[in-house]
Assembly symmetry: C2
Homo-oligomer: 407 residues x 2
Amino acid sequence: MKRIDQGVCAPQGFLAGGIRCGIKGGSAKRDLALVYSTAPCASAALFTTNRVKAASIGVSQEHLAKGSVRGVIANSGNANACTGAQGMAAARRMAELAGEALDISPEQMAVASTGVIGVPLPIETIAAGMPALKAALRADAQGHEAALEAIMTTDTRKKAGALEIDLAGTPVRLGGMVKGSGMIHPNLGTMLCFITTDACISPECLDAALRRAVQRSFNRVTVDGDTSTNDMVLLLANGQARNSRIHRPGPEEAAFREALESLCIALARDMARDGEGATKLLTVTVRGTWDEESAALLAKSVASSSLVKAACFGADANWGRVLCALGYAGLAFDPHEVAVAFASPAGQLQVCRQGMGLPFSEEKAKEILLADSIEIIITLGQGPGEAQVWGCDLSYEYVKINGDYRS
Amino acid sequence: MKRIDQGVCAPQGFLAGGIRCGIKGGSAKRDLALVYSTAPCASAALFTTNRVKAASIGVSQEHLAKGSVRGVIANSGNANACTGAQGMAAARRMAELAGEALDISPEQMAVASTGVIGVPLPIETIAAGMPALKAALRADAQGHEAALEAIMTTDTRKKAGALEIDLAGTPVRLGGMVKGSGMIHPNLGTMLCFITTDACISPECLDAALRRAVQRSFNRVTVDGDTSTNDMVLLLANGQARNSRIHRPGPEEAAFREALESLCIALARDMARDGEGATKLLTVTVRGTWDEESAALLAKSVASSSLVKAACFGADANWGRVLCALGYAGLAFDPHEVAVAFASPAGQLQVCRQGMGLPFSEEKAKEILLADSIEIIITLGQGPGEAQVWGCDLSYEYVKINGDYRS
């Protein structure tokens, strides 16, 4: 498995592009993106679990169910959520516009939106931008970058990656981009993730691989506990690598699954690091539970605690809050078996054992916690279960960004 | 029902006092409190649901189970949580010290602690303070105030109240104090609440009244989603009002229950308003659900959302976040039936109907949301269920307080 460049354009046969069409008003930022495979695709997707769903989610779910999606049109600056029948019509129209431009059926397009909720989507602005968007499509890094910029909102970094693996002698590539920094929580939060691959793989294997990868990556990221109306992870596989088709469990299927999981985890970590107002990446590792699921639940409770997050911001080794957050996770465990350590590139320090504090150097703790990537390592001694969850600290800047997002 | 003064000392036969014994180190603040009935009491209590429980919780649960508690000794500055066998011994010793001072059995005392987790409780400091604490006991407002000050940590306001009701011609009083501002969430979060009454009432009726009152008050307050290791609500009834004993449902029982609920709601609202770093009291009212419980669940989801809270801080009428928070509450409802209004002393404004935005004046919305007490009114049109939840905004100050609490 090796890291390569060009993001979603790394796999063969994929084009991408992004333009400024004017959805973001006077802003000079890009706001309309297209990612598209020149060949038909197997596809898989996961959508928000929020009861209130954006119009784009409804349309994409319909199209995915028909099994022939090979591209996605996405806008930023407007979520097209809570916009009623007019919003549904606008989302359908987005797919039609893309279909017309690419000379394919609208059902071959997924639709994604991100931005402010409850404002009608200016669909005519999008329609007017379509010739420029089509002209912007490219098969290289520039196409990828432009598309990625066009789906960003409060994101401060570009989050993307690509990998190449060898499947029985055939090189196969995967590329991905993700947008999201606020409203990110397990079960997806305004997050759009588009992943492309030139692997030849059955829809069933693709779907299974995506579910597992998302479970271990994006569903283990938490920024602020909110889950958005618009989240979507879309995976398109166009078979252009011409590997022997993956259609059942086996070494090739496992290698693909592992690569996909690795790519998703890298994107998920980048997203946590780019949490709104975040100054630090927080990794919570829980070991020694009965199973992976319970470890993930406990780790999420710690990574989601406002008090733990604020302590990380302040580089305060307040391990009591870690125990407290474990305690209200809803799982029965023996508090007297819990051990806690803080770690970062500056070192590692055990601060709690058997549920009680250990004497430790406050200076050393401060040094560890001042790093921009810190880990809380929790062991419970109940079994072999282990999981990692990624989050970030809670800063003044988070409050500032979200106190006046619409203005 | 009329409001009266003197807090926990308002009911006949109760003494209270508070001193500085030195648990808070060099601070001049009070840190040790005693509330005590000169006559035996019926008692009821509710404790934290956190799996990690402070030593004081364990000891108080034991003593409450024996049915003869008539007072509580409480300290601030140290939570005596995650302190192992030594912590349990210290909590037991606190009850013994109070018992010796008051010449009653230790089992007649409840024990409460609040403060930093994981630091051994300096029990000898408390022992040395006992003569002064006993001497500080008073039956008036000053005793109440001193005890209240001694249980405060990051609280910025004193939160207390008292009521008098008429039970078949006999005046009966209830008084209460509460401490808590951070780590407050439904199911109790570092919150200590001591309520006294001179009502003559059976332990069964007292317990039922307390459970119901807490359900509708403290369990509907949310500040930051954390639930503490140390929470306790204690209710002592010493019968000194000499009303005809309440021992079954009926008009007197209902009047007592109503008064207790009213007192608890007032304390709960005060606590929400005093949330760490809060600049505003946020009331979320949900109407038109199937039942009260589902209304409370939806209201909590909105009042707990970091994004909604940050928008309130910024006076941003971001109703889309309200819908989003309803959507991930875990209840099935029809998003197209939802209406949302913002209200405050400055007016009321409908911003969403049938799940869609309405045109509204941003200036008027700003005016409403700049008030220091704001309400979000949500209607669902599914049934008669209704509930209110209280919370606060999320400010820079919250992050500051919690970024460096221990230092």
